[in-house]
């Protein structure tokens, strides 16, 4: 399966298992979603379980919270993460705090799916990576898959989770892994082990990272599309790096991270999002606090620049093989 099919399959499996699971969003119903992620679901489960909504993100999330309070398990879609901001009040002030402020009387078991990330010439409003806005909010969980297998297993866990989850889908790797070499032919998931996806029910626990490559020279923390870009850059550089796909940003798999950095003595963080107060800052501070005496080099962050996501200059902005390769040299220079 590709990642879209895996996401579709996760919703299909969960709708089949739990009649309280409902899917809603702009164009998700009859049409099956602008990325086809909900294709066929309305036909299979009916219009009261899979339905199109008005174009109002605050309404989509607000209504989903009310449905959750009733006892449903809504899976609302925000068409692009760049358009999630109108729903911020409902997510931050309401969904994230409902359990806390009502001492558990009401909960918001939502899974907010949204395509995110760049590398598709999406320009300023189809490329953003706003994960750190959500990781800053207590009460929300934030999950980002890097393969179709993970996407399905994680999404099923999110839908079953009783806390509100932001599930960002890296749209650059919907159809195939992307190593950052935009000038090479596109790959698809059929030749990647992460593209082997069981058709039935399985879950990947939230809060558990995946070590996608073991190594002892440097620990690289990444997620989403960047997992593949990093893997390719590491192979090119011939460095025995340990690559950790975080998968869940909150709650973070601290044990896997700390164990790895203590082993390697070096830590590099890679994300597409802009640098200042990006999630990398939190990762860097956390690693610094817990692995200080094991660090043999400053922690490096390789990120998008602190600019809006540009259209024509996309490959100068995107933290691709060149920038990661330079950073690998930098962090290994005294090794």
């Amino acid at each position: 399966m590709n990642m879209i099919q895996a996401v579709n399959s996760a919703m299909d499996v969960m709708m089949g298992r739990d009649e309280n699971v409902v899917v809603m969003g702009e164009d998700v119903g009859y049409f099956g979603g602008v990325f086809r992620a909900t294709a066929g679901l309305q036909k299979k489960y009916g219009k009261t379980r899979v339905f199109d909504t008005p174009i109002t993100e605050c309404g989509i999330i607000g209504v989903a919270i009310g449905m959750g309070a009733y006892g449903l398990r809504p899976v609302p879609e925000i068409q692009f993460a760049d358009y999630i901001y109108p729903a911020l009040d409902q997510l931050v002030s309401e969904a994230a705090r409902l359990r806390y402020r009502s001492a558990g009387e009401f909960i918001a078991p939502l899974t907010v799916r949204s395509p995110f990330g760049g590398g598709i010439f999406g320009g300023q409003t189809h490329s953003q990576s706003p994960e750190s806005i959500f990781t800053h909010v207590s009460g929300l969980k934030t999950v980002i898959p890097a393969t179709p297998y993970d996407a399905k297993g994680l999404l099923i866990s999110c839908i079953e989770d009783n806390d509100p989850v932001i599930f960002f889908e890296p749209k650059r790797i919907y159809n195939g892994p992307f190593d950052g070499h935009w000038d090479r032919p596109a790959k698809n998931w059929s030749n990647h082990p992460g593209g082997e996806v069981p058709t039935g029910y399985y879950r990947i626990p939230l809060g558990k990272a995946s070590v996608v490559r073991e190594g002892d020279a440097v620990t690289i923390l990444c997620y989403g599309t960047m997992v593949h870009v990093v893997a390719d850059s590491v192979a090119d550089a011939g460095i025995n790096a340990e690559i950790i796909d975080l998968r869940t940003l909150v709650p973070l798999d601290i044990d896997t991270i700390v164990e790895s950095v203590k082993k390697t003595g070096r830590c590099m963080i890679v994300h597409e999002a802009t640098r200042t107060q990006g999630f990398g800052s939190e990762l860097s501070a956390t690693v610094q606090e817990r692995c200080f005496y094991h660090l043999e080099a400053p922690i490096l962050r390789v990120t998008g620049f602190d600019t809006p996501y540009p259209h024509s200059l996309e490959w100068a902005y995107f933290p691709g093989p060149v920038r990661i390769g330079q950073a690998l040299k930098e962090i290994m220079k005294d090794a």
Binding site: G62, V63, A69, D89, Q90, A103
Partner: protein
């Protein structure tokens, strides 16, 4: 490009900034407020198409006339027992407000908000709903809880954030929550509950349930984007929901003109959404009851949502943190043409021969006594600022269903800080 020379002959524009008619010290004259005679508003069938509601959205549904008689098609014809229950719920709400306002002034809690003058909007509406209909209130509908016999002591425990507070001191006073009583957790963020109520109602409809939802916001909060999204969703999916707008003329210091009242009514907003809109005398408990019952029947028969504007007046300050003498005339409440909802219902019952001033006085005293007695009980559980009433570990509970490692770590850090400081909280 438009050059200066092209604009030379055009009149100068001016910006209109609304201004209330009366400011502190001004004499008040509300004679320009149109108050249609009671009993004159048409009562459509609950299934009627919303496109015929123009005069109801711009008019005023009134049942109680100047002599306290119930007249016209909207008279809900409640029996005296029911009317007395309504009167007592309203009197109790007022007595509770008085006492808790004073408790804040005495430093027993940080904050309080009265609903004086608006008791009908919550009490009469709650009486017209089924007990298991879900209410998504704002912060000024405490009358719903009182009508649903929610224990006063639970309300007070919450206000005091004491050890009896079932919200564990996590919420600002008056931000109640009671799932069991169909009272959704109150949020400080305005109008967020509006789309949530619509979603709850949509879920009820999607599951083939028979319960409906009702929500409340102030006229000031109708300016929030969530109001628009809620009305759109309610209309699109014909959600079984009642959207109440409590137009009490004031949003803290801003008069209703800043929410658009100079140009139209709030009920008229419904017309553009294709929602049935009613404008109701919010100080007429029978009109509020009848309109809510009508809207509930409409919702329950899958005829869709109703938006009800309750035209009323916020008699007191916005909250204990507000001094209304800084922005409006003190005479407004006493000059308000729609009077006092408690007095109007009392006069109606007296007119029916089912009540008298002595019984009213006795009931008022009984309410005040019960509130005072309950307050003493609640204060045994502690008042705000006198020690910590919750185990401080509870601060970290309920952020998530399961406490993640980082919160466990912060919790342990706080406990260690307290122990090391030599001043452990007196919570145990």
């Amino acid at each position: 490009m438009t050059g200066d020379h092209q604009r030379a002959n055009r009149p100068q524009l001016s910006l209109h900034v609304p201004e209330p008619k009366f400011r502190p010290g001004d004499d008040v004259d509300f004679s320009d407020i149109a108050v249609p005679a009671a009993g004159t508003a048409r009562r459509p069938e609950p299934g009627d198409s919303p496109d015929g509601f123009h005069e109801l959205a711009y008019g005023l549904v009134r049942v109680l006339d100047e002599d306290g008689r119930a007249v016209g098609a909207w008279d809900p014809r409640l029996d005296p027992d029911r009317l007395r229950v309504m009167l007592r719920n309203m009197a109790m709400t007022r007595a509770f407000d008085e006492r808790m306002f004073r408790a804040q002034r005495q430093g027993k809690t940080s904050f309080y908000m009265k609903s004086t003058g608006e008791e009908a909007v919550s009490v009469a509406a709650a009486m017209a709903l089924a007990r298991d209909d879900m209410c998504f209130p704002s912060y000024r509908q405490q009358g719903i809880l009182i009508t649903r016999d929610y224990p006063l002591i639970e309300m007070m425990n919450q206000i005091y954030s004491n050890k009896g507070d079932k919200l564990q001191g996590k919420q600002l006073p008056i931000m109640y929550s009671s799932r069991e009583d169909g009272f959704f957790s109150i949020s400080g963020n305005l109008t967020t509950q509006y789309p949530q109520a619509v979603g709850w109602a949509m879920a009820s409809a999607a599951k083939g349930d028979s319960r409906i939802a009702a929500t409340w916001c102030g006229e000031g909060s109708t300016a929030e984007g969530d109001f628009h999204s809620a009305c759109t969703f309610a209309s699109v999916y014909r959600a079984p929901v009642i959207l109440n707008v409590v137009n009490n003329q004031w949003a803290i210091s801003s008069f209703s003109g800043f929410a658009g009242a100079e140009a139209t009514t709030f009920a008229a907003r419904a017309i553009g959404y294709g929602i049935a809109g009613l404008r109701v005398d919010g100080n007429d408990p029978l009109a509020v009851y009848a309109a809510t019952l009508w809207a509930a029947e409409r919702a329950r028969t899958n005829q869709g949502p109703t938006l009800i504007e309750h035209f009323t007046y916020r008699a007191e300050g916005h909250s204990t943190s507000d001094d209304p003498t800084g922005y409006r005339s003190a005479q407004e409440w006493t000059s308000w043409p729609l009077g006092d909802p408690v007095k109007r219902l009392k006069d109606h019952l007296i007119g029916l021969g089912a009540w008298d001033e002595d019984r009213q006085a006795a009931m008022d005293k009984e309410c005040a006594d019960l509130v005072r007695k309950t307050q003493k009980e609640a204060e045994k559980n502690g008042i705000l600022g006198h020690g910590l009433h919750q185990q401080f570990e509870t601060m970290f509970e309920g952020v998530y269903e399961e406490m993640p490692w980082h919160l466990k770590e912060q919790q342990a850090q706080m406990i260690a800080e307290e122990q090391a400081s030599g001043r452990p909280w007196d919570a145990k």
